[in-house]
Assembly symmetry: C2
Amino acid sequence: MTTTIELPAVADFHVHLRDGDMMKTVVPTVRQGGVSVAYVMPNLVPPITSVEQALSYHERLREVDPTTKYLMTLYLSPEITPDVIQKAAATGVIAGVKSYPKGVTTNSAAGVVSYEQYYPVFEAMEKHDLVLNLHGEAPSGPDTTVLNAEATFLPTLLDLHRRFPNLRIVLEHCTTAAAVEAVKQCGPTVAATITAHHLYLTIDQWADNPHCFCKPVAKLPGDRDALVAAATSGDPKFFLGTDSAPHPKTSKIGAKTGRTAAGVFTQPYAAQYIASAFDRAGKLEALKGFLCDFGRRFYKTVEKGWETKEEVEKVSIVLSNEPTQVVAEIGQGEVSVVPFMAGEEVWSLRWKN
Amino acid sequence: MTTTIELPAVADFHVHLRDGDMMKTVVPTVRQGGVSVAYVMPNLVPPITSVEQALSYHERLREVDPTTKYLMTLYLSPEITPDVIQKAAATGVIAGVKSYPKGVTTNSAAGVVSYEQYYPVFEAMEKHDLVLNLHGEAPSGPDTTVLNAEATFLPTLLDLHRRFPNLRIVLEHCTTAAAVEAVKQCGPTVAATITAHHLYLTIDQWADNPHCFCKPVAKLPGDRDALVAAATSGDPKFFLGTDSAPHPKTSKIGAKTGRTAAGVFTQPYAAQYIASAFDRAGKLEALKGFLCDFGRRFYKTVEKGWETKEEVEKVSIVLSNEPTQVVAEIGQGEVSVVPFMAGEEVWSLRWKN
């Protein structure tokens, strides 16, 4: 029996679109994934730490595909001052600031990340209504591994929320039952993104498969089950951020360095992976909230003028349980990227217009 | 200050020497690692399930390097009957039977591995004094991952020991504090091998490095610390079994299949990795027991006539803290293998004779 679901275009609140040739390969796949709004990570080389860099990157993205709306971010670092926050908010294009573990100071006594130096920045973000995006992992330490790095970070999330209750915070790509619980405990200014791949993976899948290896790593079966439950629950605190992270195939399989680059590439099938996972969980009725509504509401995309009410409500994509096979590779040569679940079947998708 | 330690030749009670071209590449590295006795795993393709196969494999190994003593094993499977055990013991070359998880039956009710069909074989092994080598991991299941597979298996070890108290059992390549404790709880007929690489690795090292990925996977820092403590404790229940497992570089980095073959190759530097690890732990005085004495005593190499008392006691290798750099690769083309810690420095080793 064919199941067909018509939805507004998807908003993906965590994407890596890179730069140069990789950008040209990846950016067109945003729309292929059913997505019209992409929240763009700032971790280029060098990272985006000024308003000018962010606006210039925004232009480069629009040159490749102007049909997608790109919301830009800054990389939390000493260059980001309250003045920069004020300027950023005034652009109407920069929506938030992303914090990576290595961009912060470690409080070695408690083993907890300390953000104290950035409190004035967070005050300015509260005032100018920018979102703080947290890569929620504690830095490596004697007792901190890829397995407990997220759980070790959670007290820091709770502390920041207590200090800045009006600061909108997103715990990015949460991977554990503990993280889901921590986000639920917080007030409405705290939300979390969940990726497509973390609805599928556990440690056993990435242990021997470089294309399933990412940070934070997929954890245990109980954690994956908690993520599926949160994503399909209808709780508006949880919405899509794919963390789609393209790496050249050669970097993934370690052919050059002997190491495996961290990142799972899901952009071209973003909505399709989610539809397949929600179908498997028997929760297709929760699809619209997770893919289309909750993230936009948290980020105030209409209120801020990034989208019109009509755009947000217009039925634009058609998802169907008629299977589509995920292609083996996207792009060529140095920018050949292997998508998640290459060769496997997922739901199909087409745009209505 | 130069530290020099003179020892008898090392006995390595868990090696994978493969067959064909890979065998020709790997077998000469046994002696390079300071090893004179190699306990050879039976997981060829097809596996060694008859006395004839084991003897033929023994001959092929001796053709490559007759200076090493090879103790042979059979692969536990329905072909192994009490009659086969009797025949095997009579050869004087076959010393034990290796059990892999997939070779056993799963008792799905309790989630525990059941060896019931092999009880007559174990009785015969007790009678003819062969050793049972356990790959101590429970098969995959809804709640069993690479992380808890060993801990999940431990009740099976305790049960087998209770049923066959005179059967000598080795829990191979133990990787967890829980396994160390379980082995300590058992009587003197139960021992454990510890590899070189598990004295170094935790999950963080193999997560992005295919050359550090093996089964059982390296676990948490507390587990690694427990292994170092056990290996350096002077407890004769713990001795060297490198589980050195060569795979072509192309299989390790997934260039062919997209998957990473499990196995860390340590054979050419076996004693050197251990000396470096014991040095770091400040426990060089425990080196001889772990490398030379405890395994031989457990396996009764002199009593069984595999070695003379003179061979066992003769000072044969010289270990020194003058650093040696681990080579980038061993072998060429299809059998090019990347050793553990390639490019890093370890203790050096030379043979006296």
